[in-house]
């Protein structure tokens, strides 16, 4: 039996077409995927992301524990700052990718919806020997992402604190729509935008006030379909597609969030080895030349050989062409390399391009 987020009634009322996703009833789309995608790129859209996992990590060794648990360096985080990081198995395979916020008396970790149970179990196992407490806040809290170039303008109408003062990947404890909440300048679309974390009981109040405040901008609810095309245009990896336990951060292009210079952490040795030996494959961005839309598991071909597979593929509403992420064997991963993708309609030519696919996004 699927769970429902605290916004379920509002979403159904708004015409969301519901699907089962990560154990929740979630909207795949409302008005239409391209319309919703365009709304976020040009104005402002609202995503219910309450299905994501949320935990507090507190205790005297919270920092030591997190720094051991993840590959990025948590120690440099300033108060109310956020950090993106992979969390790996000792083999280097990825357990998940996370956001970690530093708040006054704890660290706050946001987990991919489908991984919530698995991650919390993994975290608790690794926490043995550390003076830390891991508190599941998933059900108690609601989470909304308000994304788009007009997100700040709309949200500013609901709070007296200055949202312009929040830097990218920073946050603020504030009262917004009459509700005490944590607001961060983060998101998964490439656009300027915010994520709001607040008590689940206040979900309907915040939803209603938000849509009232953004009426002039045509604020709209956005489904999972557009969330996926938006993130793919930015080359943001999706756990379960582009990264998982069989892939490591180095080959996935996430070396920038692996900090070998910090103290020991899970997977340090394995990842150092991959880095030194150079990965046998890399996650690359492929842009289709002409018509044809790549889909996950399509085979990527070069010099008549199978070089790898598409992990995410779609029609890009912004570029009006097929785009894909996929792993490609070493030696074929340079930008400008011309390859073929074996799609449902036959082989189509594609070229490796530098990320992101979409270069006009509003976040600075």
């Amino acid at each position: 039996m699927d769970k429902k987020t605290p916004f379920y009634d509002k979403i159904v009322e708004a015409g969301g077409r519901m699907v089962s996703f990560a154990g929740y009833q979630m909207p795949v789309q409302f008005e239409g995927l391209i319309a919703e995608h365009t709304k976020v790129r040009s104005s402002v859209g609202v995503f219910d992301v309450s299905h994501m996992g949320r935990v507090e990590v507190k205790g005297s060794q919270a920092l030591d524990f997190l720094n051991y648990l993840v590959t990025n360096d948590v120690s440099g985080l300033e108060l109310y700052q956020a950090l993106y990081t992979p969390m790996c198995y000792p083999s280097g395979g990825i357990v998940d990718d996370l956001l970690i916020y530093r708040l006054p008396d704890h660290y706050f970790v946001v987990i991919n919806a489908a991984n919530n149970e698995k991650d919390q179990k993994w975290m608790r196992e690794q926490a043995k020997g550390f003076d830390v407490e891991i508190i599941d806040r998933t059900d108690a809290m609601a989470q909304l992402a308000v994304q788009g170039p007009k997100a700040e303008q709309v949200l500013q109408r609901l709070t007296s604190d200055d949202l312009a003062s929040i830097g990218f990947y920073r946050g603020l404890e504030t009262e917004l729509a009459g509700v005490k909440m944590f607001v961060s300048r983060t998101g998964y679309t490439g656009e300027d935008g915010f994520e709001l974390y607040f008590p689940a009981q206040q979900a309907h109040t915040v939803w209603d006030k938000l849509f009232e405040a953004g009426a002039d901008e045509g604020i709209a609810p956005i489904g999972l379909g557009a969330r996926d095309t938006l993130r793919l245009e930015m080359k943001y990896a999706l756990y379960g597609n582009d990264i998982d336990k069989t892939t490591n951060p180095v080959e996935a292009g996430l070396s920038w969030v692996v900090k070998f210079e910090k103290e020991d952490f899970i997977a340090r040795d394995a990842l150092l080895k991959v880095k030194e030996e150079k990965p046998s494959r890399r996650l690359v961005c492929l842009e289709v030349q002409g018509s044809g839309i790549p889909r996950p598991h399509d085979v990527i071909v070069g010099d008549g050989e199978e070089l790898g597979q598409v992990t995410s593929g779609t029609f890009s509403p912004s570029l009006r062409k097929g785009i894909a992420l996929g792993y490609v064997r070493r030696g074929y991963t340079k930008s400008g390399t011309e390859l073929l993708i074996r799609t449902h309609r036959g082989e189509v030519p594609a070229v490796i391009v530098k990320p992101p696919f979409y270069k006009e996004a509003s976040h600075k």
């Binding site: 995927l33 095309t229 839309i293 889909r295 779609t314 509403p317 309609r345």
Partner: protein, 130 residues
């Protein structure tokens, strides 16, 4: 609820057929376009091709999905809707009108009787969980 016009015939793979004398106009149903969502590319059947019932005769690509177009009836392709090459989204907005896909010369007019009528198709949709 998907629109299911009374005067058309339907296949289990969600194509519709409108019989016009010895010819049949075909397309995909409102239900099918809704399931696919934003359609962004259509590979049309080849004019002149002889097709059998259930043959894959084209491909419909939506943003998040791809589907084969199956011929709901056998015959020879007389004409295809070339407007769809420039405006594939017409299938979303008008699946039974401007979004028609192909016109066939019927091989055997009695075949149409084997297709579902509107009532049967509605019942079929209900079994699909919609």
């Amino acid at each position: 609820m998907a629109n299911v016009p009374e005067e058309l015939k339907y296949s289990k793979s969600h194509e519709w057929v409108r019989i016009e004398g010895s010819q049949a106009v075909i397309g995909i149903t409102d239900f099918a376009q809704g399931e696919l969502s934003d359609i962004v590319m259509v590979e049309l059947p080849q004019v002149g091709r002889e097709v059998g019932t259930g043959d894959s005769i084209g491909v419909i690509e939506a943003v998040k999905a791809v589907a084969d177009l199956y011929s709901p009836i056998s015959g020879k392709v007389l004409e295809v809707n070339t407007n769809l090459s420039a405006s594939p989204e017409t299938i979303n907005s008008d699946p039974y009108g401007e979004g028609w896909i192909a016109k066939l010369e019927l091989a055997d007019p009695s075949e149409a009787e084997k297709l579902m009528d509107a009532a049967a198709y509605k019942e079929f949709l209900a079994t699909q969980g919609h």
